[in-house]
Symmetry: C3
Subunit: 669 residues, 3 copies
């Protein structure tokens, strides 16, 4: 079962982005010395260096890159070699002004930040193939290089592009998708508001308009945008593969940017990697982290992945960039590791003196090596060094949460019943409940084979095709437990309302469908009677028509007063729950407790704030225990504490804020 993530590295990779081009040559020697002190095994280089390699179009100068790669190699540090295509050089835009990205309002974006390019521009496609090919030709067989890092964070800062090049490509993409213009008219429902097209040439991008643009057009434009970015990736990947057999990755932004359909992207990379940054305003940023890590693993089909970027302490681009507290960096890192990461890397190695991100923390901060941060970096390097045997082990989960980018894109368009309803909010609420119950989660698409899961949760499945609905229904009939939140199965793949009432495609599974949405006013709340208690709900109610389901909760007050609120429908060997409103956290806990019982799921019983995640290796399980709380917490085990090499029979105590990794015999699954 164990997989070698990459051919040239053993154990858990450790390191970060490294920008030697920002520093005088003499600093490089100090860098590699301190990297060795910290246990760094791999660094990512070259990511924003296009103009320093190809100083004028077609004129390459690899001198400095040769030198730093050699220096790293001499010091035993592997190279994750970036292609610099996330920021074309100044000469590129001077030579190809038409290759600039254009906003909805027709503003061609300028140089001085990064990434202002049109990903549809032919000149850009040519230029990235050239630079990626040139790098691969030169370094594709260099023993220092372990991995190709294409581009950087596709979709950020520029995703949607309304340039003439984009519009031309968009028409081609549509023509390929729909074949005939009447196919497009039907799919988009252009009879509405007089949007009928007779000619492909008349179809435009959803740019500035006086009112809300056709939602099917916008949904397709989101698909097209994702497709164009991925086509750029493929162009580079194929240019590299012509010269190099090394694995290729690009760093995703799971759960921080929704513009890329990571399920599709993961098919194109050799190794999945991800960047993750805590949202400082959230005092429980570790929950968002866990979502990101689980999603990254899931889109990669469960294979080990690389945490390509995170931060040692504060970032610089949030309103208030809260520094991490002592121990927090290690907890974050181990949570990623527990959730399947086989590499823990940071942005960045050395804090930069200049530019927009100089207040971003680094492994080596502005304060230098004699600093809390660097000491913790050294300590983390040592910890990861002791955990090499986890490499390749796999996380297993009994619960799947549905995560469908297309549905999210559709749901979050304008003119929905209530602006209080977003896909992200419900995903977080259900995931958070599972996280607090210390239940490990995979994410999945509604069309996946879900039969291995005891429980599937659909918190935000606004768009659901008939085929995917049939898949979910079959999952229930086959013995699964399904939980569906409100505003689900409303539209098809063209954002057209399913015939037969809201939620009709799931009507058989749920034993119910929705006659009318009943959004609540701002600040309005109501109750639902659930067993002997009344739970508080807000935002949404429904006029639910129950056919075969059993009513488990009923509205008490509010626009749904007296109507069914929560239902459970037995179907075949399984059961499907429907939650037609937004319970508060305590209410959701009560509902999910009943659901767990149905699904045969038993929460781990760890104290609040303690995460345990189990990775299964070929010969043993590895349990990562993370204590986010201030007080020491017990963990019952028979195994070996890998960080202390202590053998444990019974209770291991994990100090407040601390982490542990225990090697245990295989857990029955």
């Amino acid at each position: 079962m164990t997989t070698t993530v990459w051919p040239r590295l053993e154990g858990i990779a450790y390191g970060g982005d490294y920008n030697p081009e920002q520093w005088p040559r003499e600093v490089w020697d100090e860098d590699v010395r301190l990297m060795r002190e910290a246990g760094v095994t791999m660094v990512s280089i070259g990511i924003f260096s296009w103009g320093l390699i190809e100083r004028r179009e077609g004129e390459f100068d690899f001198t400095w890159l040769d030198e730093i790669i050699e220096l790293l190699h001499t010091n035993g540090i592997a190279v994750d070699l970036g292609t610099p295509t996330a920021s074309p050089p100044a000469w590129f835009f001077a030579n190809y002004p038409e290759a600039r990205a254009v906003t909805k309002d027709g503003v061609a974006l300028g140089f001085g930040a990064r990434g202002m390019v049109s990903h549809s521009a032919p000149a850009y496609r040519t230029a990235i193939a050239r630079i990626a090919g040139a790098l691969a030709e030169r370094y594709g067989n260099h023993p220092a290089v372990a991995l190709w890092h294409i581009h950087n964070e596709y979709g950020v800062p520029v995703g949607e592009d309304y340039s003439p090049a984009a519009i031309a490509a968009w028409r081609e993409w549509l023509q390929e998708k729909y074949g005939t213009i009447d196919g497009l008219n039907a799919a988009w429902g252009t009879a509405f508001w007089g949007q009928h097209y007779e000619e492909w040439a008349h179809v435009g991008a959803p740019a500035a308009a006086p009112s809300t643009i056709n939602p099917a057009q916008k949904l397709d434009f989101a698909r097209f945008t994702d497709h164009q970015l991925r086509a750029c990736f493929i162009t580079e990947r194929d240019a590299i593969r012509a010269h190099s057999d090394l694995p290729v990755t690009t760093n995703f932004m799971a759960n921080q940017h929704w513009g890329c359909d990571l399920w599709a992207w993961a098919q194109e990379v050799d190794i999945v990697s991800d960047d993750h940054y805590l949202w400082a305003a959230d005092p429980e940023g570790e929950i968002g982290l866990a979502i990101a890590a689980d999603l990254t693993r899931s889109v990669g089909g469960g294979k080990p992945w690389i945490l390509m970027e995170h931060s040692t302490s504060a970032v610089n681009w949030q309103p208030r960039n809260v520094a991490k507290r002592p121990g927090e960096m290690a907890r974050n890192s181990l949570s990623h590791l527990g959730r399947g990461a086989d590499g823990i890397l940071f942005f960045q190695w050395r804090a930069g003196r200049s530019g927009a991100e100089k207040f971003h923390s680094a492994m080596l901060p502005h304060a230098g090596a004699d600093s809390r941060v660097f000491r913790e970096v050294v300590d983390l390097g040592a910890k990861l060094g002791a955990l090499g045997e986890l490499q390749g082990s796999r996380v297993q989960a009994d619960v799947a949460v549905l995560w469908d980018f297309e549905s999210f894109w559709a749901q979050d368009l304008e003119w929905r019943p209530s602006e209080d309803v977003t896909h992200a909010e419900r995903i977080r609420a259900y995931y958070e409940r599972l996280w607090r119950d210390d239940i490990t989660v995979d994410f999945a698409l509604p069309g996946h084979d879900l039969s291995a899961y005891k429980l599937v949760v659909a918190p935000a499945q606004y768009l659901l095709t008939q085929a995917d609905a049939a898949n979910l229904t079959a999952y229930v009939r086959g013995g699964g437990t399904l939980v569906v939140s409100f505003f689900s199965a409303v539209v098809d793949e063209h954002d057209a309302v399913h015939a037969g009432g809201f939620g009709a495609p799931l009507a058989e599974a749920l034993g119910a469908w929705v006659e009318e949405h009943l959004p609540m006013r701002e600040g309005e709340t109501a109750g639902i009677r659930f067993g002997d208690t009344t739970l508080t709900v807000d935002v949404w109610a429904e006029d639910l028509v129950v056919t075969t389901a059993e009513v488990r909760a009923t509205y008490d007050g509010g626009p749904g007063d007296g109507k069914p609120a929560v239902t459970r429908n037995a179907l075949g060997d399984g059961a499907a729950w429907y939650v037609s409103t937004r319970p508060d956290a305590a209410g959701l806990q009560q509902i999910m407790t009943a659901v767990y019982a149905d699904a045969g799921i038993v929460p781990s019983g760890t104290p609040a704030g303690v995460e345990t995640i189990r990775r299964r290796g070929d010969d043993a399980d590895y349990v990562v225990v993370i204590n986010h709380g201030a007080d020491a917490a017990p963990y019952e085990t028979t195994g070996t504490d890998l960080l202390t090499q202590e053998e444990i029979r019974g209770t291991m105590v994990v100090a407040g804020g601390d982490v542990a990794v225990v090697k245990e015999a295989h857990h029955p699954h």
Copy 2:
């Protein structure tokens, strides 16, 4: 007195917008069957169908329109035939890219929503005359057609347009208005900030600028914008009249869009019609509805009108689209009817599957005919069927509230003394007081003959010409009672401050004028002593100079401390009140109670939440009683309950949430 609203319909029209072009042919048969079940008598078709009729420029195809009109006619359903000019087709913008509307910032708006056209573009004027004429030629004498419905909601989503075509038309309009460039310089006061013009060609639109643009220029641009929209309407109307004698309307948005001077528009249509949607965030949306209905009736000179669109339940374009509760649709409909509507129509007949408005409710919802909404639609159809004899009867009112679009446009420009003061807020406050006292209101212009009203209220008459001020003064002298709220009579028709102190044109009527405005800080309140009580006020105070008036309230605290706050001036046979601040609702009630006594007005004494509106027919009065409350309410009458045909002598009980219509003998007026 009874008027026939349209030649080919009897009784109260009932129906809605119908978009058969969005549905397969087999659905049409179900549609007409259900329309008949619901008592539908008229539907509006063709409104957004330009590209399906004229698929390429000048090539017409009426096949589907012929078929649906015939089908409706066969089923006894009249047609309100729309011209589709609110959304020109894709080919139009491809052929005439210069005909796109342009924003203040120079962005040419694109296709994909609706209505992105420049109403000043010559190509648009030509195209609308062609399509309107072609429709009129073909259907102008068709027995199914009862009414022409030109365009849709003029001014939304595009009103102001900064395209080259608009700027050229603007210069012509100005030249016609002012004759000489020095006439414009004087009117606009261009000596301020160096804005002097020597040439017409130098005059631009009030587009993006680094600071606040000349307010007289902006006021004229608002007039020009209104004029251009109306010119488009007239172009279509005249093209139709060349082929058809049927009446022509266009659907206004009274009290929901202020860009069209409806007093002027009402002169151009044969029948006034209006669209109205509740503002869901307002739990008493019925007050806004009443304003809209009274305004619609008033601009039409009191003649019966058509409610062209409202909703059976939720809309889709508000932040939270609250569904109507059982009975609410009937209460809304009857309130329109009571306020003079002889047709009750909805947007739309059948909920659309696709497009930006698919979550808008409809007569036939996504849930189908077996639904609460459709059952209430059928019930309403039956009710309206029983009320046919109300057709043509007229509402009468003793109170007029001044409503002057030009004043609103001027008042709401930038750089006024306090951003807390808007025309809409004071209009609503005074109207709401009258509504709660169950007093029926007409709206009027300050230059109208007001002598028939016992009371005239001017809540927001910032712009007031000397002539109109003289008219109001004569009204008072002739025995009328006038109430003027603060920040009135400040400027003339060019937004220039009247000489002689603020409010000087009304100084004789009010016996007072304003030395200085004293806006309050955010959240600041003060008191005014009124009789024995202290009323709470905020937002505004004044340094009021009293000449002949009697001081009825004095400031207690705040910037006006000790100065006069409310005055009453006896003049001739009448009296004029001045309220120099913003009382809270309880305070305004006390002041208005004193005003009613002055004016000889006696509130009806109905319980809170009960509206009664009286329509006078040739032979009888019809009293519409609407109980917005939860509890049953009595109504004293001698008459016939038209919905039950019960004869009543004494107390009729209207259940909570219910409506009634009583036929009574003529009430003395």
Copy 3:
């Protein structure tokens, strides 16, 4: 020591902007009559009159200007003659459309407001030299003219300009500054995010971009923008000097607009002048006024200056334009006078009927001469007439607060550690403390000779060069007391982080440096233990490394828990304090009380709300006493009350809201 501010005026100048071109000729006679009644001695004319003087390019008509200047002269009123270049005429933009300013988003700003010009456009430079020269040629020796008033409020409403003309000038400016493109690459740190340049022609302005633009580029663009505006001023000044020896000024906006480096501007004018308007939302607007007045005096090197504009009552451009209460205008005026103004002028003489500022108060309001405002204007004129001997006297201060525009520009760029930290907030907090303690303050640059000050406060010195840091260190060593607030000495002149940890350049002076910033979350607070008390702090904490300093307060809770919060470092003959967080007002008072003791400063002990400011004349001191409170306040003196001519020995009582000016013997300094 006494300076003659201008050659042709005696005493304190009094008057305002005067726009006779907005009024019929017959009004002018009333104007001069009332000016004389009010004691007006100087008016500013011509400021927005370009198009009325040069009606077509190159065609001048001075008729009306000749006439009004003559009329004023005849009536003994001096003229401050404006150049009208803040608002080029309509013909200018028609002839030179390329001379319009362009926004970041590429929108060329249009006519209709004011000041929409590109200050880099060659056509503008030519035109302003022509009009300024023509005016100077005609009026440069006219006996009525006392002063040249160039342009109006440079930088408002247009500062930054992204037009092609601006970009061309920007490249030239950069080339001159950096010499080589590699000099620019190094200064801007373009190795970050791939921003390397090979050609000057590739360098653009920091216009619309997809992410945060290089901060060094933005900082340079701020410098460039300031330089371009000043170059325009110099063009006009030199055109005038070719014909006239009269002094030249331009009206600054100290503390209300930060785009102009007033230290540099003050070098170019003959007399410093300033416009100041209260911020109405601030109930203690007099503190902001005091900052503005002290800054204006300080940039001018302590010489007397002119208050060119303030308001008699409300302005018109704020959200809520609060009117001044009786006596407030006099208190404001005297505070300016006390802080060094030798002229008190208003915008404007007569309230305008038309245009964007018609609701701005004036000396002669819409209500006319029989009004509270005009009576107070007359009274103020009389007061100033009695204070003529103050002319030329100088304010002296023991405390300097550092005020460095370049540091402010840098600090307020995007992507800083916390958006709660702005330069303005800390400046206000420290200044406010000093103001409440009635301590007169100068502002200074960190590179100035500070040795004469007992105390120097650096509330916001984010950007600090090594040289300036050395100057501050020498100041401390030489016996000074220095207070430094957090986030200081972080970057050098290119916004690059200083090596050696945050604050390294001041590490010797402070005996401490900063390992890590610890911003707090929104709403988060913590304590610091200071002596026996716990002070409340928020927004910011730090991981402070103390070397030689004494810890005076320690964090209690929050991200800095247990670490040093406030330190004092003895160095040479002086001491330097460091405040690493944001104390609330009560906390800052406790800290500053300790600082005062260190610096040998004794607060005056006046009652709360009473300001006393001392101007030193050749033969006497003049103490301006302003009582902002409602209750009478004592002032101990031996001297002459200049407004009453009363001799006082002991306690003078200043009534609530009143002012006094006492002539005393020289105070020892």
